[in-house]
Symmetry: C2
Subunit: 242 residues, 2 copies
Amino acid sequence: MGKCYLVGIGPGDAANMTGAARAALEEAELICGYTRYVDLLRPLFPEKRFYTTGMTGELERCRFCLERASEGLCCALVCSGDAGVYGMAGPALELGADYPGAEIIVIPGVTAAVSGAALLGAPLGHDFCVISLSDRLTDWAVIEKRLRLAAEGDFALCLYNPASRHRPDFLRRACDVLLEHKAAETVCGLARNIAREGESVRILSLKELRDAQADMFTTVFVGASSTKKIGERMVTPRGYRT
Amino acid sequence: MGKCYLVGIGPGDAANMTGAARAALEEAELICGYTRYVDLLRPLFPEKRFYTTGMTGELERCRFCLERASEGLCCALVCSGDAGVYGMAGPALELGADYPGAEIIVIPGVTAAVSGAALLGAPLGHDFCVISLSDRLTDWAVIEKRLRLAAEGDFALCLYNPASRHRPDFLRRACDVLLEHKAAETVCGLARNIAREGESVRILSLKELRDAQADMFTTVFVGASSTKKIGERMVTPRGYRT
């Protein structure tokens, strides 16, 4: 029986990793993950064994990690942000049924909704929805329905995977759905390359967001009707002042 | 001009604090916060100055902190979990307009949606909504509407503030709304006293959740239709296996 840690390392740099995440990586004899994220860790743990796969190799590295753990090796499968939010915790727990010798332990991390929000101010200060615009594993009809209901409920929104090479117009399509229920002047925000080189934020209206550029390293925030721009920050009040 | 850090310290113990949060607290000359959370930090920073207020003293300690920062003192206002999610980042940024001498910097942390999810498995592995059941600052009609729309959209849900002494039946009322659109057998979870003494989790059906006990140290998770119980874990698949 070996441990298989599912470790959220937070955004970009090591400063946003928790003490528990660091301890799990220190304990692990083998660290598995997507090449790009593991490369962030190599300098911190120069003595470790690493196993990396590319963007679409999720299940392969997950199985590899569970297999080694069930053989008794202490393993860590790393995810950017948090392992539970569109991360590998779900797939690992599903596959884990085939590896009773692997003890799966999820170590929480700072997901992009939270780290991007901190950069922008407090866009998620009241009730909010998190929706991925990726249709790789979800039908667009489901995504659109959820966007519409979230807008109808006047939730603040955080959108993951707003665009990729294969779906350059998804953010525009999402904005068109949101504009049916949200005002064109709704305060929105973009957080790019959070805690990495080229980190930047931008505050803009929903109308402007419709035409904004986003990529897979962008996290998008759409305000509720109460969301305000205060100086250069985006704030969704919880209501303390009213 | 002094810094005013808004620091999310994560759940309960220091292990879930990020490196950046710890660095901000080390830099701060004065640490402000709710008595209970500051007490967790005193042993880590025995030499610091502290300023604490009770549960409803949010605005008072926020003003105190901003005032000291605008006088040039480096201050940290601490929040349990993340400062942006139902935390003090919003109020501080709103009040901050009155204290141009205070430079507000938000340091993200592991919010209860993420830490509770990790304990339970991966209940938030796909699109989800975060809703507070507290009607202290929000009308129940708004809460109910959001619950209804979240259920209609088949989101997974994380509910903050599910109950308190003054509203012992709010979780039951919320479940009754959710049961209009979600099946009685929907997989749900409770995470109590996350990363603190008495930490526990429980997986149960929505029907059972309706009659479950919750308090202000409980975070509630309600699954989507795809959410499964796998062993003793609650998992909302992202769809990798389909």
